[in-house]
């Protein structure tokens, strides 16, 4: 049962990576080893996800359980089932909010 599940994950993952590599989101293709690390907010803050997390939900462990393709291995094996509650993806093209600091009245509806 377990092995079937693992096989399914792999098939799904490869399908996904193939799909994503042709997607409209250049920031969010497959991670390359060592190249995509993002700085943490502070020491002890959870690492950020340098690849698309939404489309790969539910398959984190396919790479991160054993470190496939250079993926960091999860250091907290008892907490492997709700990754996205601490680790979030990043769209690096997005600038800080608010873009322009405005205290003025906004457009009327």
């Amino acid at each position: 049962m377990k092995s079937l599940k693992t096989i399914f994950f792999w098939i799904f993952l490869f399908g996904l990576l193939a799909t994503l590599s042709g997607s409209a989101f250049p920031e969010q293709v497959a991670p390359q080893q060592g190249s995509k690390k993002l700085p943490r907010a502070y020491e002890g803050a959870p690492p950020l996800i340098p690849h698309d997390a939404e489309a790969r939900k539910g398959v984190c462990l396919a790479c991160h359980e054993f470190g496939i393709a250079g993926a960091p291995i999860v250091p907290h094996p008892t907490r492997n089932h709700f990754c996205l509650q601490c680790h979030v993806g990043q769209d690096l093209s997005v600038k800080a909010f608010p873009a322009v600091s405005s205290q003025e009245e906004k457009r009327p509806e």
Partner: protein, 789 residues
């Protein structure tokens, strides 16, 4: 198993550096070498998280007068060392570049800097003028479920005992009012009987219309851990669309059409009764049956009254009150006959067999059961009813008020329970679960407040929706909005935004930390301190009261809200309300507030105990001991020996099973507006995003609010993910990008838009219908049309 896990967590949380080095050791060149943006902390102090109602304990890392880090507190029983990404982002919420640092007064379309004494003088003179010319009902205060206990108590006392106006509300009206009326009507007393310990003690979870994987992440992770420890554990997730709370490891997922939870819950009761899964002895000893009024309307009219208002003046207006009528068990059974699983299937789309399976799981005498819900139930034009209906299921089976058996109403905000509900920061309430309309309650309150009893008005003030309608009509002249953002969050918000800026004698004061939609509609903006920039206390979902001390200074001239309240009081010649002598103000306020709870079942520990204890205590705290399960002998000190179970909130000690029918919602899709719109939140952003969007990591994780649309509907309309889409209702429209799939998958005919994004102001579209019993609006359903923009 549990011990070793705890130990591991302690080790992990005990040293952030250990995580880094261990992962680094496993995989050199990986996450371990990421740079730290802030220097390491010099000192750590305890505080609850300032976000959701779960109430996680955090350790706040301090260095040179700044918050530089947080850790989940391994000693905190709620989260045992873990936090969600919002919690981990706490250090950064304080340091956005556009924090308000000085008071600002509107001049035309601009704001100009003024001094605190000018600001407070202007504010006080506006209050005085309105009170003198139009009476105390012409002023209002609108606070928050994020207001601390001290602040909530002070503003409540200032308004009700000083100014003599009951126009004091909390934004918690928008998120938990139906939970409160549900508790009162069923148990005669507010707040859950169980606690989070039930998550490890139960074996069956029922999650109703709540994406708590995103909104209460730490509790969700406790459920998932439980599931992974014990394969016998079953999770049933009933939702209106697929989301993270329907993902693995949910065992049964039921997607129902919005609003039909009423029919499903009654159908479950139908199956439980028909198949003999009831607990006959429990029902005989501890339950009565009642029915209430039906066809109660939707509150969309100003001054809404049951059966239609003849008189539109609020002075003669009688807010809706339900009328209970006792019925027999036989009559209740007769009521249930309509609600066959097949009937519920017709309304809800959930197969009758699935409803049977879910009901049998809940009824299985060998299983324990807990039910969890939040906004799906509470933001519901029949919110009180659906709260009643889920209690029915637990009362019929006797699965209540004991370890592992509990209905648990989850709370959205960190102190919606501790402040709004327990301190009574609502237009009809008084501290300690009392009501302004009750002469005995006014007497007790006046005694503790040391004011003449005539000072406290017996008339409930405006509830939130009517308060902002009154501002629009001009009946309210001056309003103080604090720690909340109604001009983004009120449903049908265009009316209330315009109302605020209609001029005349209206004057809107907003205490804020960052520019928000509400601050932009203000006449006067007061810069506030937030979280550990002040001392505070919060009370979470499971009756847990937690305390923190001030740790850092607020920026610029920003001041904490308690100071603002007391300074206003002084200028209104009401400073005596807060003249406590030498004692620190916070401690004095809490010790006075504590008198309301003593001996009433809501006993709180002394201030000094909360100041010390890590992770807080669950009330009633009697003789130094907290209470985990209420209404049960051996756990609750208020249940006498030999009583077994006693629902002592009700005069006869019996909880009520309510016959509450299915009634349609205020608005349903039709030819012109063929889609359901449902609104809500995302994990990464807190409510209107005012603070979380200023954290770069959170903003980059979810930079804007898309509209989730089903692939079938998108296909039919020629819409792809990323296309601009117009979402339009009878009230207004927004344009945003389409999202097909991802974390949510909506069924055909439903669209979902989160409300955090001020540039995608979805509340221009929503409907301001509310539950007449709770006065809480329904953000989960209105009719819209969709087109490519």
């Amino acid at each position: 198993m549990k011990l070793s896990r705890r130990e591991l967590l302690k080790t992990l949380a005990g040293a952030g550096a250990a995580i880094v080095s261990s992962s680094g050791a496993i995989l050199p060149g990986s996450v371990g070498q990421a740079q730290a943006a802030e220097p390491a902390a010099e000192a750590w102090k305890k505080s609850p998280c300032r976000f959701c109602g779960v109430g996680c304990g955090v350790l706040v890392g301090l260095r040179e007068g700044r918050v530089v880090a947080v850790r989940g507190d391994a000693e905190a029983p709620v989260n045992r060392g873990l936090l969600c990404i919002k919690g981990y982002s706490l250090p950064k919420i304080l340091y956005g570049p556009d924090r308000y640092k000085v008071p600002l007064l509107r001049q035309g379309n601009k704001f100009v800097q003024i001094s605190w004494s000018q600001a407070l003088d202007i504010m006080a003179s506006k209050f005085k003028e309105a009170i003198q010319q139009h009476g105390p009902e012409s002023v209002a205060a609108y606070f928050s479920g994020q207001t601390t206990i001290f602040e909530g108590y002070a503003i409540n006392k200032l308004m009700k005992a000083g100014i003599g106006s009951n126009n004091i509300e909390s934004n918690a009206r928008l998120c938990m009012a139906s939970a409160v009326t549900g508790f009162y009507s069923t148990f005669g007393m507010d707040e859950p009987m169980g606690c989070y310990d039930d998550f490890e003690l139960t074996d069956t979870f029922f999650v109703w219309g709540s994406n708590f994987a995103e909104m209460h992440p730490i509790l969700y992770s406790r459920m998932v851990e439980r599931k992974h420890q014990d394969s016998n554990v079953k999770i049933v997730s009933l939702q209106t669309y697929l989301n993270r709370s329907t993902d693995e490891p949910a065992d049964i997922v039921a997607i129902f059409k919005p609003h039909t939870d009423l029919a499903i819950a009654n159908a479950m009761a139908h199956v439980i009764v028909k198949e003999g899964l009831i607990n006959e002895a429990f029902i005989q000893q501890h339950v009565t049956f009642k029915k209430g009024l039906t066809e109660i309307g939707y509150g969309v009219e100003d001054n809404f009254e049951y059966g239609g208002a003849l008189e539109t003046s609020w002075k003669t207006y009688k807010p809706f009150a339900d009328k209970a009528q006792a019925i027999s068990f036989e009559e209740y059974k007769k009521f249930l006959e309509t609600y066959t699983p097949e009937y519920a299937e017709k309304l809800s789309g959930v197969p009758a067999d699935t409803i049977r399976r879910i009901a049998r799981l809940l009824g299985d005498p060998k299983r324990k059961a807990i039910s969890c819900w939040t906004m799906g139930f509470n933001q519901h034009v029949r919110g009180t009813w659906i709260n009643n209906l889920v209690y029915n299921l637990h009362l019929l089976t006797g699965k209540i008020a004991e370890p592992g058996n509990s209905p648990l109403s989850l709370t959205g905000q960190p102190s919606a329970c501790g402040t709004t509900r327990e301190v009574g920061v609502l237009s009809h309430a008084l501290p300690g679960g009392m009501f302004v309309a009750n002469p005995e309650h006014r007497k007790k309150t006046a005694h503790i407040w040391n004011v003449p009893v005539e000072k406290i008005s017996p008339r409930p003030g405006y509830h939130t929706m009517e308060m902002f309608r009154a501002l629009d009509r001009g009946d309210i002249k001056v309003i103080w909005i604090n720690t909340t953002n109604p001009f983004q969050t009120l449903p049908h918000v265009s009316r209330y935004r315009k109302g605020a800026r209609k001029g005349g004698e209206r004057f809107v004061v907003v205490s804020e930390v960052y520019p928000s939609e509400t601050a932009r509609h203000a006449d006067l903006i007061l810069p506030s301190a937030m979280w550990v920039e002040k001392e505070g206390m919060f009370g979470n979902t499971e009756r847990r009261t937690q305390h923190w001390f001030k740790m850092v200074d607020p920026p610029g001239e920003a001041k904490d809200d308690l100071w603002q309240i007391v300074e206003l009081a002084k200028r209104l010649d009401l400073g005596h309300l807060f003249a406590y002598g030498e004692e620190p103000l916070q401690k004095a306020i809490f010790e006075e507030y504590r008198q309301f709870g003593q001996g009433s079942g809501k006993d709180l520990a002394p201030y000094d105990v909360y100041a010390k204890v890590r992770g807080g205590l669950r009330w009633p705290v009697v003789e130094g001991k907290e209470t985990r399960w209420r209404y049960r002998e051996g756990f609750d000190p208020y249940v006498k020996k030999g009583e077994g179970v006693r629902f002592y909130g009700q005069p006869d000690g019996r909880a009520v099973i309510w016959a509450r029918p299915y009634e349609p919602p205020a608005e349903q899709p039709d030819k012109q507006y063929p889609f359901w719109l449902t609104t809500g939140r995302v994990l990464e952003h807190w409510h209107t995003g005012t603070i979380t969007r200023r954290v770069l990591e959170l903003h980059r994780a979810v930079p804007f609010a898309p509209v989730w649309i089903s692939s079938e509907d998108a296909g039919a309309l020629g819409i792809k993910t990323g296309d601009s889409v117009r979402v339009q209702s009878r009230r207004g429209e927004i344009v945003t990008k389409a999202q097909i799939g991802g974390r949510n998958t909506v069924p055909k005919g439903v669209v979902f838009v989160p409300f955090f994004d001020e540039n995608v102001l979805i509340n221009l579209v929503t409907l301001d219908a509310y539950d007449p019993i709770s006065k809480q609006p329904d953000y989960k359903k209105c009719a819209v049309r969709i087109e490519k923009a």
